[in-house]
Symmetry: C2
Subunit: 119 residues, 2 copies
DNA sequence: CTTGAACCTCACATCAGTGTCAAGTTCTAC
DNA sequence: GTAGAACTTGACACTGATGTGAGGTTCAAG
């Protein structure tokens, strides 16, 4: 699949897809002419990458993490080192706090919205 | 309370506190010499501001929202306009999606961590 | 007074992902 | 073989909260 098609399927810009490749998060075969050619599994991976970005992980952590994730079609191709597992545990806890914060903010917004509705 | 004290209490840098003032999120009296003097309620407000920032709201939205929130010690000093309520509803939905994304990422991390533990 | 900590304003730097434009190449379909 | 869409690399801009440093003023305690 070409980059345009992948961008369309995932809703992620071509620019970002190239950036992911630059950061080692996403690889592609190349046509004889040099155009990127992605496997079908790429779309899933891109979605995962976006989710992890949204969760505040930086590209380097994502890069380390990706091979340890099981893909939809198979098991992981690597197991996290203790060092990485420790890092990821810290990230996990950060995400927990993030979720708690978000829930508080959501509650705040809900209250303001309810009050506005009530008038 | 002075800016240093407020920074210490909230864990937010002085730089950020001045920035919040610049954006109209936080006001302070001034001493005759021009130093900021915050009321006791400021700490609560700063925490709220940080939470809303973390939830992805921009300073302008926060500025509009703040007067509509009830403070710990009293009711809101304003009610959201329909326009603002609509904006906030969109933000609320965005936060919902964000939470869902975060939960998926957390699950991903947990799985990798579990796998690493299991070896 | 004086001294040092704390504060002031202003300006420029940073981060990391993404947008955007330029100039050139490849692909696909006629 | 040619037109136009799609792709390539490269470089620079932006965003928006925050870091940082300069150069100067105010505050509080001795």
């Amino acid at each position: 699949m070409r980059i345009g098609e992948l961008a369309r399927r995932t809703g992620v810009s071509e620019r970002s897809l190239r950036y992911y490749e630059e950061r080692g998060l996403l690889t592609a075969e190349r046509t004889p002419g040099g155009h990127r050619d992605y496997p079908e599994t790429a779309a899933d991976r891109v979605i995962r990458i976006q989710e992890l970005y949204a969760a505040g992980l930086h590209s380097e952590k994502i890069r380390q993490l990706l091979p340890c994730m099981r893909d939809r079609d198979g098991g992981p191709s690597a197991v996290a080192t203790p060092r990485l597992a420790q890092d990821l545990t810290a990230e996990r806890d950060r995400i927990d706090r993030m979720i708690a914060d978000l829930c508080r903010s959501r509650e705040t917004l809900d209250e303001v919205i309810r009050t506005a509705r009530g008038t």
